[in-house]
Amino acid sequence: MRKQLQQQIERLKTAGASYVDARWYPVEETEHLMMWNGNLKNAAASRESGVGIRVLYQGAWGFSASSDAANLTALFNKALDNARVAAQRCTFPVHLAEKAPVHGSFSSPNRIDPFSIPLADKVGFMKALDERLNRPGVSQRVCELSFTRKQIVYLDSEGSEIEKRIIDLFPSMQVMGLDSHGETHGRKFSPTLAGATRGWETIDPALFNAQAERIVQEMNEVRVAETCPTDMRSAILLPGIMYLQTHETIGHALELDRILGYELAYAGGSFVTLDDFGTLRYGSPKLTVRADATLPNSPGSFGYDDDGVPAQDNLLIDQGLLVGAINGRQMVAEANARAGKTLFPGSSGANRATAFYRAPIERMTNINIDPGNDGSLDEIVRNTEKGIILDGDKSWSIGSNREQFHFAVDIGWLVEDGAVTRVVKNATYRGETVPFYHSLSAVGDRSTWELLSVNNCGKGQPNQIMQLGHGVPVCRFDQVTIGE
């Protein structure tokens, strides 16, 4: 197959393509188990294989994919034909950032392949967990296990050949209950990505058992709590919501394709302009953010992106100053030309596709906030006069240029004079991105830092779901509007 793909790549080069790459998925497997109130509602597995071809012709992209690899010539021809038509409407011909040919391989570290675990064992784990969640006050219990295992062979016309074997695992549990008004409240748990691997060995039943007790207890506290007041307070975001804040208002805002206007028809743009790099104070000096695809244990780490660029660890925001973007090879030349200077030296290794049948686009890797020097959660609370601790993503809505946002969370704890006073329900907060990050007044130390995964980041047309990670500490923001 590799030889056939290479021959087709060469053929299209001869036919006038300036660049060709092929991503062949010999196999991608998934397994999804969902137990809802003790019922195994979903016991599903999948297996897919196919080829995706990307062609650059006179600076325009064409893409073609099929699950039937029997006629590669037609598939490659289709991609070239698509690119030829695209070249008829081309305003800034794509010029890929430089990359030396890469011959490499990547295997995500894992000790136990989750697909090697018998289904009965997985169901048994979920059943035991479900029973532990089945407590007074709980009306809905949801346990989920999702696994993916894929092999990707990448070849391009510049001589690169890469093989990746990636396993990812996404476990979670959630409880819901009704308050006296019949309103539903929930609490959920997904484990922090700890350790150096990402296989079945990362599932620790003892941890899940302990967390099951916690989320039931907290959900029951919310059920009987008063409604979150409408107020202006310091908001102390725990990692369970800070990861999403980071995702929506830093990660997406710094994707270079969005900044250049390539997502305007769907996901939206970004308030960030090219002039902002090196000049915009995105937040307070306590804010340092990086895109780190080198962490071993996260779905945001993949060895090489789908341009064949090796994984990197790059600063995005350095002590409040915007310094970097999330980009692949295809946006660099255009961004630098539009800026009139070299803003981006090359690809940051962040071009990824969700499947063989989608073309790669700029995606987040692990967008992490560095831990700070403001101590533990307890210390931050002690130093907060009037605040609210917030945790658990319930709802998120962000402006089309990522300039403002509204989040609802699972639980809030009011803080008065350095101490937690009471739990509140229906807690929300909103803000404007840059003023919000300028109000960042405390960043927790390493003890508060957690790496969490995202299994469902949507972007692009045709739409793509991507998996990635966020490592974040506890963060406190001042003068935040809550309860609206």
Partner: protein, 461 residues
Amino acid sequence: MKEQILQTLHDLRSYALEKQIDAAFFLHEEESCLMRCANSAISLNTNEQLLRLEITAYEGRKRASFELITALGNMEEMQQGVDRAAEMVKHAQPLDYQPTMPAFSETCSDESGFDADLAGITNAARLEFFNQAVAGLEADEITLSGIFSSGVTTLAQISTCSEHCQYFKTTDAQISIVLSHVTYKWELLAEQSARQATDLDPSALHCDLAFLLEQYQQDTPCQLALGRYDVVFGSAAIAELLDIMNYIGFDGGSMKRGFSFISEDQVGQKVLSNRFTLIDDPTCLDTFPFQRDFMGMPRTPFPIFANGVFRSFTWSQDDADEFGTAPTGHTVMHKSLVLAGGNTQVSTLKELVDLPHSNDLLYIPSLHYLNIVNPSTGLITASSRFGALLLTKDGSVVVPYNVRITQSLLDIFGNRLAWLSQAQVVNNTSSSYGARNPTAIVVPAFVQVNDLEISHTNASY
């Protein structure tokens, strides 16, 4: 191709019967094309040909499924999939209810939604559509974005319960065209949905965009004051609100699980404005309907709200099995929602601007990033996007920056619902996540809701 698909299903059925496996087969084939524009260029031009086969095995109260993305001729791999599903179901855990297997009592074939001309539309035609839709409207600072997504979707089903099968084939196209300003960052949108080639009309999009462009080029954007406004929603916004109501309103399973703002005892009660009549209408071809659901149940027009009175929850087979009720023909990939029009004679944005009004009207054509804040109260939040206008009571038109609305669907479609336009339009709500599933909702072109609070206003786009 149809014969090959049906023969494949019959062969798989025979294989399962030989092995004494109770199984249902769901085949989805798509040929998808998507031309995407950005910065006035075609930024991506794609073509995907994919065949998915989902095999669900049953064993008493146990159920497990295995899905393949494969090629039609790969019978050996498909048979392995049957074996895999059968193996999985052995180790699955019994449900506390009896799941119903699809058992088709007669063979059904519906290709009424297929149009050969739309299926055969070329790259050149798509490009020409874009060129015509924005002819003369682009400028150095005003650039084109958008998609022309079209395709053919084939669904076919069989189960070991009977030799009858179901076959559906449809074509669709979804076009959205955005003109945006490079510096000011405003965005204007015009959309079109098509089920046949004759539905394609670039001049209609050109007309909409030209009118909006005129407003946006003549005025300086402003930040609106916070407060309460009479809001006119455009068709895209209305469709999105109905789409979310489908999830947290009248879906029976969601209601039983605590994700609905409507309770069981509200069936037959007045819940929304008497102007609000919503129906699931599979006879409306514009909605890419299913004439039968995936259990073989014939689908007929199904009233959901009649003059504000809540008529019925919709029930998929699995939810009906679990909660001990009767299914309503809603085991489908999407419903065919139609919101009845009202009496107000306004069908275009120009007519809306000219419509006499005693208060300022805030026109919101589209909602961005709508999400559910509290399903139990129907509370949602979203920002305006794509060409909002403030139509002042003195007759002038002001271009506002985007605003945020955080409101309950009970308020939006309740007593604050002032009027609905008589004219209806088809709003294509398809996404291209996962398997192709063309979806559209028929809605009034405009709906006015009075006294809605704007909780945030942008100082820029």
